[in-house]
């Protein structure tokens, strides 16, 4: 399997680079920048941190542009000192869309690729900016050595700002053809947006009432690559919220992700959907690696530890996280007082979950130690926390809130992207724009992307291991019934 490569940067970094590369006289220009790698299971992303601006004489502009060895050496030494890799960027002022490398472009990058890797220990990343539409293209010079050094063309370049702007490499990841089942979807936002949306690799964490619904609606809109992550089994008490799950799933000890995949396949409109499931936890190192392969993550879990991991990931690795949840309050007599649901995008430029008071790191310590599931501890602590709950008639509102955020972030209807944190109050039916800002002590939002040097919060996750052991301990009659059930489901899908 070929390893995929990508580049990601924030909007402010993009703006600085555009200022350096797009000249008023219309000539090509170049500059250097530093990056940190973010290594997933199947994809490596170069996270651009900041430029190394050229000094006078560092490059020769003559219609085209030539870089000097002194500038490359200065950049590589700065990269080495900061434990980063080096990016060589240049512009094609008249270009539009993903740019192929010209002969001179290739020769220049190839001539410095070995030297840069020798100094920094990381592959040189080459990038081209198309001046007409500010599209980016990129490659990692990560194959071969000496005269045989060669680039791996990136799948995409992602810019995370008020909207997520992705330039796709059609040669590596071509847009799938729209089919008649998607006609109404395409009319909502046009062919270009559809070609972008359906190629994104989206991870849905948590296959409960909200996660399952998010996944199947993404599949219905034509997304090709969806991954669902959850280690829980379907249980009797889930059935009043897990639409699509049945008592048979409980009897057969199905996992929630199995049900979610089945429902997503039933609703998928892509010609060849790739809907993957995993019973890992995002709190485990392998779960984090899986997450780093994705362009966007939906967080549909309410436990503090996974949400803390995702809160860090959104800033350290520039993978935006669409997060939200519901709180249902009751009176002492058990009658309903109110319900509120929130939604927000966790990304550079927006406050983190701690600053929006959606994540209590004190509770993360409890969750990591398994104390939230320890009956002795819970009894002794006399905790007054409300039990996390959701109900089917309202979970759809949380799903809608998350997907609404995602559509704004991706398509920017009317030119307006990420709306910021939102809260809906059921009792009064008011929608509030929450005016949260990052606190001065925030460890996440102001930091440069760290990638593989992040302080990640993953570790052994007893809850996930225990659930997987339970799922693996299914007796053979139940396994046989599962196989028959799978067969019937496949035959039924074939008929439809």
């Amino acid at each position: 399997m070929t390893r995929r490569t990508s580049v990601a940067m924030t909007g402010p970094t993009r703006d600085v680079l555009c200022d350096l590369l797009l000249r008023s006289d219309g000539q090509e220009d170049l500059c250097l920048a530093l990056y940190r790698p973010s290594t997933g299971r199947r994809r490596t992303t170069a996270l651009i941190r900041h430029p190394v601006a050229p000094n006078d004489g560092d490059r020769l502009v003559h219609g085209n542009v030539t870089v000097t060895a002194e500038y490359i050496l200065r950049g590589a030494e700065a990269a080495h000192a900061q434990q980063c890799g080096l990016v060589l960027l240049h512009s094609h002022p008249g270009g539009r869309g993903w740019q192929a490398m010209s002969g001179p472009d290739r020769d220049t990058e190839a001539s410095y690729a070995n030297l840069v890797r020798e100094i920094t220990g990381l592959p040189l990343v080459g990038m081209t900016l198309a001046g007409r539409d500010q599209s980016w293209s990129a490659r990692h010079w990560d194959r071969g050595v000496g005269r045989h050094v060669a680039p791996t063309e990136c799948t995409n370049v992602r810019v995370i700002d008020d909207r997520l702007t992705i330039t796709w490499n059609d040669g590596v990841d071509p847009a799938p053809a729209t089919n008649p089942r998607q006609t109404r979807t395409v009319t909502a936002w046009g062919d270009a947006a559809q070609a972008d949306l359906v190629r994104r690799r989206v991870l849905v964490i948590g296959a409960g009432s909200v996660g399952l619904d998010v996944a199947l609606r993404l599949a219905a809109s034509g997304l090709v690559h969806i991954t669902m992550m959850d280690f829980d089994l379907v249980e009797e008490h889930n059935l009043d919220r897990l639409v699509g799950a049945t008592r048979r799933d409980v009897l057969l000890r199905r996992t929630k992700v199995h049900v979610a995949r089945r429902e997503a396949f039933r609703n998928a409109t892509a010609a060849h959907p790739h809907i993957r499931i995993t019973d890992l936890s995002i709190c485990e190192p392998a779960g984090l690696l899986e997450a780093l392969d994705h362009d966007v993550i939906f967080c549909c879990v309410d436990r503090p530890w996974p949400r803390a991991v995702l809160n860090g990931l959104a800033y350290s690795d520039l993978v935006p996280v669409i997060d939200g949840g519901i709180a249902i309050d009751t009176h002492a007599d058990g009658t309903m007082r109110n319900a509120t649901w929130r939604s927000h995008i966790v990304r550079p430029g927006r406050p983190c979950l701690i600053c929006t008071r959606q994540l209590d790191m004190g509770q993360v310590a409890l969750d990591i130690q398994g104390l939230l599931d320890d009956p002795d501890y819970v009894a002794g602590a006399n905790r007054g926390d409300s039990v996390g709950q959701n109900v089917a008639p309202l979970s759809i509102s949380v799903t809608a809130a998350l997907l609404g955020q995602y559509v704004s972030f991706s398509v920017a209807p009317g030119g307006v992207g990420d709306p910021g944190p939102l809260q809906y109050v059921l009792s009064t039916h008011d929608l509030h724009h929450l005016d949260h800002t990052s606190t001065p002590g925030c460890l996440y939002e102001p930091a440069c992307p760290e990638g593989d040097r992040r302080q990640d919060l993953t570790g052994d996750h007893w809850g996930a291991e225990s659930a997987r052991a339970k799922a693996a301990a299914v007796p053979w009659p139940a396994r046989l019934c599962r196989m028959l059930d799978d067969l019937l489901t496949a035959m039924s899908a074939g008929r439809s």
Binding site: A308, G362, A365, I368, A381, N382, G441, L443, L457
Partner: protein
């Protein structure tokens, strides 16, 4: 530099004189109110709980047996003659971690009955 090294460095800057003994970072703290006000009380945090410092704060506060708290969920400490007490810190991540932790522990010691 591990999480417990960072923790020790941060509380050392506050004059709390940390030392590592038996998988604990032990330091002295002077409460400003309560029965222990004005005298230095030894207290500790388990190194295991500092793996993700400062992102994740510790949960358990280790104290000698003669420090008793009115309401507590406690378990034996790694250090003989000590107990560890369950205390969840609020609003973590908004202030300097060392200062916030010292303030939290001072608050807990202010509740001490003996």
């Amino acid at each position: 530099m591990g999480g417990h090294d960072t923790f020790a460095a941060q509380i050392a800057r506050l004059g709390l004189h940390p030392r590592v003994e038996a998988e604990l970072v032990i330091y002295g703290l002077e409460p400003v109110e309560g029965t222990r006000a004005g005298s230095v009380v030894d207290t500790a945090v388990a190194i295991d709980e500092l793996a993700w410092w400062p992102q994740v704060p510790p949960h358990w506060i280790h104290l000698p047996d003669d420090v008793t708290l009115a309401r507590t969920n406690s378990r034996p400490s790694l250090r003989p003659g000590w107990m560890m007490h369950s205390r969840q810190i609020a609003d973590w991540g908004r202030d300097d971690p060392g200062v916030a932790w010292a303030s939290h522990v001072r608050g807990v010691l202010g509740e001490a009955r003996t």
